[in-house]
Symmetry: C2
């Protein structure tokens, strides 16, 4: 393998400015905070970026020849981890556009002065990849941020036919991803039930989130970023598969929602309305 | 303005491999070339990337306050040149996604071993921006490539209400774009007729292209890249406005077509079928 530099580079810099909505929310929070003499913490929830299997259904049949990976589209990454075929199918990596979108969102958080100081990710590779790409756009201090992997935030397991085949934090770190191998998750992988109902799933995610919120009390974390799935970001109650599918489908890739966290870390309070700027593009449609 | 680094970075490297189609075409060309004892030259034609005004119609009303530019979407660049309002409206810059797509195409050319050694661009900012972004993905030797601005490749002027307000090669170079200020264009800006018919337009572009092909004889240029408009890339004959609109609408942003150039530089010969890999993505749709 040659050590050439295929980098996509160079976004020019600009004076970071808050968006109006963020600035107002921050002012509001600052005033409220003064009353309680404790700084407000913020919670951002983000859906992962476009995974390879969403852009290219059945991608493994064309792109994998045994261990050899051969991308057939410029939206496919040049390298993927070496894994078993079932692991690739169960737990696909991000597409190039997924990675770039996550970097754009990272830049958006930076411009909105909402750089996360604590990052929690669901265990799926598409989520960890999203968090890792986002970190690259943070400022140099926060570029040292590491990702805590929380299996309790995993997607509903009944989507999949196999038991979880996720990479462990150690394996992810060995791939060069900035993962916190010391982090002790609230839910272990083995405690996840493959037969859970949709309601059970909702309760599991809520419990995992509650645990993350409690953690913020002991850490110096002004902004907590949680990278998960559509249903993590959506605040809809779900009890049927249809409702779950709808919740997932209504949350675009890499979209971010934000809240203030109550002083006792138990409740999500006033919403951060549009915490970052949106992303609109027509680049991949044919205009007519 | 702070000198922070907002870069989107880091595409991992891989051994460059030809696509099947490119490899076959190259082999074919090499065989033919052996017979004539002269290396074949290749011509790539590329449409510019997504311009800001395509993603955000009327963007100047929201994003410009006098001289001050304030992006309101993460797909808007952080900086744009300081210009008059009519110039911005007449000659919009690329969107972020346009820039990233051009970089992906540059990487695609590199993987297909089709790095351009001579780059010609239409005079519009969206075309020059596209060529400049693409150059960033080339290997270090070709990163020194410069862009020759050819006003004869300009879009049909009757789309616009004003006379051309393009930046001159010198102004583009002053913005940091790698433009060849020595290049002497075949058509001067002043010789362009605003009242030209669609047929006149087709003839002008054909004449400008012919001149570029002749130039390749005197330059050491294995692969010539021409960045222009939909109608430049499309090989359809056009005589009505509807046909022109159709030609433009049928060519996606940043798409590339390729040909071999005949020995006397007068004719485009066997097509390079799919010179680079395509780009498919679902990242900016809501799945449902």
């Amino acid at each position: 393998m040659r050590n050439d530099d295929y980098s996509l580079v160079d976004i020019p810099s600009i004076e970071a400015e808050d968006t109006m909505s963020t600035r107002d929310a921050t002012k509001l929070a600052a005033q409220a905070s003064k009353a309680t003499q404790r700084p407000f913490r913020k919670v951002l929830m983000m859906r992962h970026g476009e995974p390879l299997d969403a852009a290219f259904p059945g991608w493994t049949r064309l792109a994998l020849l045994g261990d050899k990976y051969r991308p057939y589209d410029l939206n496919m990454p040049l390298n993927i981890p070496i894994r078993s075929l079932v692991a690739h199918i169960d737990d696909a990596p991000l597409s190039e556009m997924g990675r770039l979108t996550a970097q754009m969102v990272g830049r958006g958080l930076r411009l909105a002065r909402l750089e996360p100081t604590m990052i929690i990710s669901a265990p799926e590779l598409r989520c960890v990849h999203t968090a890792a790409a986002l970190i690259k756009s943070l400022n140099n201090k926060n570029k040292a941020a590491t990702i805590c992997i929380e299996p309790g935030l995993a997607d509903w397991r009944q989507w999949q036919e196999t038991p979880p085949l996720w990479l462990s934090p150690r394996q992810l770190a060995d791939l060069g991803l900035p993962v916190d191998v010391q982090y002790e998750p609230h839910w272990s992988v083995s405690s996840l039930q493959s037969a859970e109902s949709v309601a059970d799933y909702g309760e599991r995610v809520a419990a995992a989130l509650h645990n993350v919120f409690q953690l913020t009390r002991t850490r110096d974390s002004g902004v907590v970023l949680i990278v998960g799935h559509g249903a993590t970001v959506s605040s809809d109650r779900m009890s049927t598969v249809t409702e779950l599918e709808l919740a997932d489908a209504s949350v675009p890739y890499c979209s971010v929602r934000g809240w203030h966290l109550s002083d006792d870390s138990s409740t999500l309070m006033a919403t951060l309305d549009h915490p970052i700027k949106p992303i609109h593009t027509s680049a991949f449609t044919i205009d007519s």
